[in-house]
């Protein structure tokens, strides 16, 4: 079974979103997603300052098995990326909701308008796929 923390927001494409105190949001991939991918070996992250549309491909996570696009769960500007993942992509497998975060965004509009799922709704999707 995969972990789905109740305090986070989720996209149908298996990303999670955590609101930060400064008004920005942190983005990563769910435990369910990392389990399905298997051991990650490379992570490609966007440039800081890049403007993303909701649903735009913004990162690539590549495992021993396959490469997968990561889609931005909401519109915004990239303000930070997790530089640790260049040397330690396995952090995404080990701590998908912690040290394995991918990027931080300054949202273009309020989070509540992004149409994201709560943990219960995401659990239904993760268990069905």
């Amino acid at each position: 079974m995969s972990a789905i923390p109740p305090e986070l927001h989720y996209a149908r494409s298996h990303e999670w979103v955590r609101p930060l105190a400064d008004g920005n949001v942190e983005v990563g991939i769910s435990d369910h997603a990392q389990q399905a991918l298997g051991d990650l070996v490379f992570v490609e992250l966007p440039e800081i300052g890049r403007t993303l549309a909701a649903g735009e491909a913004c990162a690539v996570v590549e495992s021993v098995k396959a490469a997968s696009d990561v889609y931005s769960p909401l519109a915004g500007t990239v303000v930070a990326v997790n530089a640790q993942l260049a040397a330690a992509p396995e952090l995404v497998n080990q701590q998908p909701y912690g040290q394995g975060w991918l990027l931080r965004l300054r949202p273009a509009s309020p989070l509540a308008e992004a149409g994201l799922l709560d943990a219960r709704a995401y659990a239904a999707i993760a268990s069905g796929s």
């Binding site: 298997g38 490379f42 590549e62 021993v64 098995k65 396959a66 490469a67 396995e90």
Partner: protein, 371 residues
């Protein structure tokens, strides 16, 4: 639902991620497949390979039958207890399967064939065995475990009856010892030392648990694939099939053209291919950038001619991507591979990439740039 090995329930109870492989429900990994890979390179791991076919052939004509069916020559197995690797060819020289043939005693042989080809192999060999008066038995009563890694043999020895331990530990590479329904062979598919153990299906779960209890790590097909790639060992269906022949699959060393009067199936076609020359090259590749080569990706050599990746992955030992590729005739040391829309430089290397825990080629060199 696919076919199940005698260890299926144990895999599921261990939390293994199960996938379809050649019609079988098999464990791809029990946790991290990269950690399983390292366990085999550094200590020991155990794989369930009971999905592979075990075919016993016996009777006065068995040796002659196999000398006619296999591209390698079982006459090289002079003494009992020896094994060899061979392709099974069709008349056109295309590869029906690759297998290991064990010779236990005069006219008493065993073939280990791929899971995905076993029905096809039986349909090919069965009528020919019957016509030659050779008895064929598919040993569906047996399970098979591959215990691999520098510490593997000592762990297997602890499971064996005391009377056979010394003989088992004294087996040279590619030799086997049969006792009752059990057989222990010093063979494998990882580039490490180890044993493959054939045993009654009912005894498999206890053997697996005993190995786990000794610290031998359960390993799935994911690690098996990265290990065999690093070891430079072909996978049937990826690296060769009925449309390719051994001489353009890196398997020329397995074709016994001598003695010249041995007429094996596919011989005439291989001799014709050899006479034509200009064969495609089967090579190892190391990618010079941080990306991963995958099967069917295009490979471009100088002058624009193209080949294809047949197997590719990330090498946990080298920490970069490695692949096998079939290329047009030539000798270029550098090629380009199309990975997710970009042409990336790769270096042509000799097999294997890794053997007995040691890297034999370097990873990303950093200095290489394509013109």
């Amino acid at each position: 639902m696919g076919r199940r090995t005698p260890l299926h329930d144990l895999h599921v109870a261990s939390g293994a991620r199960m996938v379809d492989f050649g019609g079988w429900d098999m464990p791809v990994a029990y946790g991290s497949q990269v950690e399983e890979h390292h366990a085999v390179r550094r200590a020991a791991g155990v794989f369930d390979v009971s999905h592979m076919g075990i075919i016993d052939l016996s009777g006065a004509g068995a040796r002659a039958l196999l000398r006619g069916l296999l591209a390698n020559d079982v006459a090289r197995l002079a003494r009992g207890g020896r094994a060899l690797y061979s392709c099974l060819l069709n008349e056109a020289g295309g590869i029906l399967d690759d297998l290991i043939a064990y010779h236990f005693a005069a006219d008493d042989f065993r073939l280990i064939v791929n899971a995905g080809s076993r029905d096809k192999d039986l349909a090919w060999i069965g009528p020919r065995a019957a016509a030659a008066g050779v008895r064929l038995i598919e040993r569906t009563d047996l399970a098979m475990l591959a215990v691999q890694g520098p510490e593997a043999r000592a762990h297997v020895a602890a499971l064996l009856p005391p009377a056979v331990v010394d003989a088992a530990l004294a087996l040279p590479a590619f030799h086997a010892l049969r006792f009752g329904a059990w057989c222990v062979a010093r063979t494998g598919y990882t580039g490490e030392d180890g044993f493959e153990l054939m045993l009654p299906a009912a005894a498999a779960a206890d053997a697996w648990r005993a190995l786990n209890a000794r610290g031998v790590r359960s390993c799935g097909l994911g690690a098996r694939d990265t290990l065999r790639l690093e070891a430079g060992m072909n996978l049937y269906g990826n690296d060769m099939d009925e449309t390719t022949h051994p001489l353009e699959s890196g398997l020329a060393w397995t074709v016994a053209f001598e003695p010249a009067d041995r007429d094996f199936t596919g011989r005439a076609a291989l001799e014709a291919a050899r006479a034509r020359g200009a064969m495609r090259r089967f090579v190892g590749l190391v990618l010079e950038e941080r990306a991963v080569m995958r099967p069917h990706q295009r490979v471009r050599v100088a002058g624009g001619a193209e080949g294809q990746v047949t197997s590719g992955t990330f090498s946990p030992t080298l920490q970069c991507s490695i692949a096998f590729a079939r290329l047009p005739p030539g000798a270029e040391p550098q090629v380009e591979v199309e990975v997710r829309g970009r042409w990336l430089p790769a270096r042509v290397v000799k097999f294997p990439f890794v053997r007995n825990g040691r890297a034999l080629v370097s990873g990303i060199t950093g200095g290489s740039k394509q013109p």
